[in-house]
């Protein structure tokens, strides 16, 4: 493996991180929105969200990516590989995040919410001041866990030709006919990325302990 090979794998790692980051930035709030729809039991949308989450959580990332990239053009929505990959990853992570947020919402103490209602707080204020600050701390471990899982499923987008870390390693191996070293190097970089994320989660958890309920 020459220097250019290492560089191309590192570039692939960068692509991986950027794709994951983009999908997380959109997917986490989207998951919160879906969870709120279920929490509020909006009549028809509720069922739609249930079916959507159930479907997406059982769909492999590879199949979803292939579907979005190859099949959507039949409806006139033609996406370049990178937006298609981000869309697929975002859809996938939003479904999982919906469940995580929903668990935190379900465990939210009803009495605080009722007290806010008794004070005639408008809905948005109720959510912003009372509910949100507490559930985001409660669901943080789950969200970060899901982020690491997301990063690990990013290689799925290699099937539509995006040169992320796995495909970069594959190309190097195909050129040198010695496939193992590039993959070991890619694994090392990946381990580094995940390790950093897990460490960040520990730091955040230590700084923001979940409040003990009185």
């Amino acid at each position: 493996m020459n220097a250019f090979d290492y560089w191309s794998i590192a570039q692939g790692a960068l692509a991986t991180v950027l794709l994951s980051f983009a999908s997380i930035v959109v997917g986490v709030p989207l998951g919160l929105g879906l969870a709120l729809i279920r929490w509020a039991r909006v009549p028809f949308l509720n069922r739609v969200v249930v079916a959507y989450v159930s479907l997406i959580r059982s769909c492999p990332a590879v199949t979803l990516t292939l579907l979005i990239f190859f099949a959507l053009p039949q409806f006139g929505i033609s996406l370049d590989p990178t937006p298609a990959a981000i869309l697929a990853l975002t859809i996938s992570t939003s479904a999982f995040n919906c469940e995580i947020w929903r668990a935190a919402l379900m465990n939210f103490p009803r009495d605080q919410y009722d007290a806010a209602l008794a004070f005639a707080m408008p809905r948005s204020l109720r959510f912003r001041r009372i509910v949100m600050p507490q559930i985001w701390r409660a669901s943080l471990p789950g969200i970060v866990n899901e982020m690491t899982l997301q990063i690990k499923s990013t290689p799925a987008v290699a099937v539509i030709g995006i040169v992320e870390i796995t495909r970069a390693a594959l190309r190097v191996g195909a050129r040198t006919f010695d496939p193992v070293p590039p993959f070991v190097f890619a694994l090392f970089i990946y381990g580094l990325i995940v390790f950093v994320l897990i460490k960040a989660q520990r730091v955040i958890e230590r700084r923001q302990p979940v409040e003990v309920r009185a």
């Binding site: 190859f70 099949a71 039949q74």
Partner: protein
Amino acid sequence: MSVRLIRREPGQSKQSIAATLLRTCAFALVATFSIGHASYAASVEEIKARGYLSVATEDDYNPFEFVDNGKNTGYDNELLALVRKKIGVDVKQQVMPWSGILPGVTTGKYDMALTAVLVTDERKKIFDFASPTCEAVTFYATKKGSSIKSLDDLVGKVVGAETGSAMLADLKLFDEQLKKKHGGNGLKQIVEYQSYPEAYQDLGLGRVDAVANTQISLNSLVKTRPDAFTVGQAIGKPTYIAWAVKKGNADVLKMVDSALLELRKSGEMYQLQQKWLGASYKDMPQSVN
């Protein structure tokens, strides 16, 4: 942590849950089937208004198109560089695995498949082809020193080819012929790969006994690894390789054909053929449709 589709409210019977579930499934199925598809082929005016022609190229098919040190290169890519100068519009190229290129053209995602597409009768029903870029025959290759010396030796062997390729179709036809000749015994298994580099790796490791590809690609493989592989015999009929557009897309075809035929007249195409393919094909017809 599982998500149940229907939550059972108190007082709701199992029958009404089943009815709701059935209704939802029926609705979903009807919705899927009733979606028509809006695909389009851009006309010349649209292309000129848009300012570019969108093409799709395979990412790793030696020697036609492959990536070398970060740059797209190979016969088709260098031909594209020459065509760009003559065609009058910009060309936006998307590099992707083979299995997405032809479906991408049929669904209107790309105007043209600028890659090594073998001209087959099946494909002529769905695609129109530009002026051919070279000739090809499907061969098979084995590891050097393999016991397979003739076509009949392939009986009971595992052969690999690329998903959705004409070489795969040729291989399947060849399998039928073998079965007819040897009383029902054909190939043991046909393995489909996403792209050829993986097939060659498996060939080197002995997971497949042979790989079917065009003779041009196999010759290029043997040139890089003469110690490891060797080319066998032809298992398909001679045909042409050309760039493909959706059937009826005559405008794009005219634009591209005029550029290609100019390159033929100036001799630049034959020079590129000599450089990348090791031979020049001067007797190709001007159109293969």
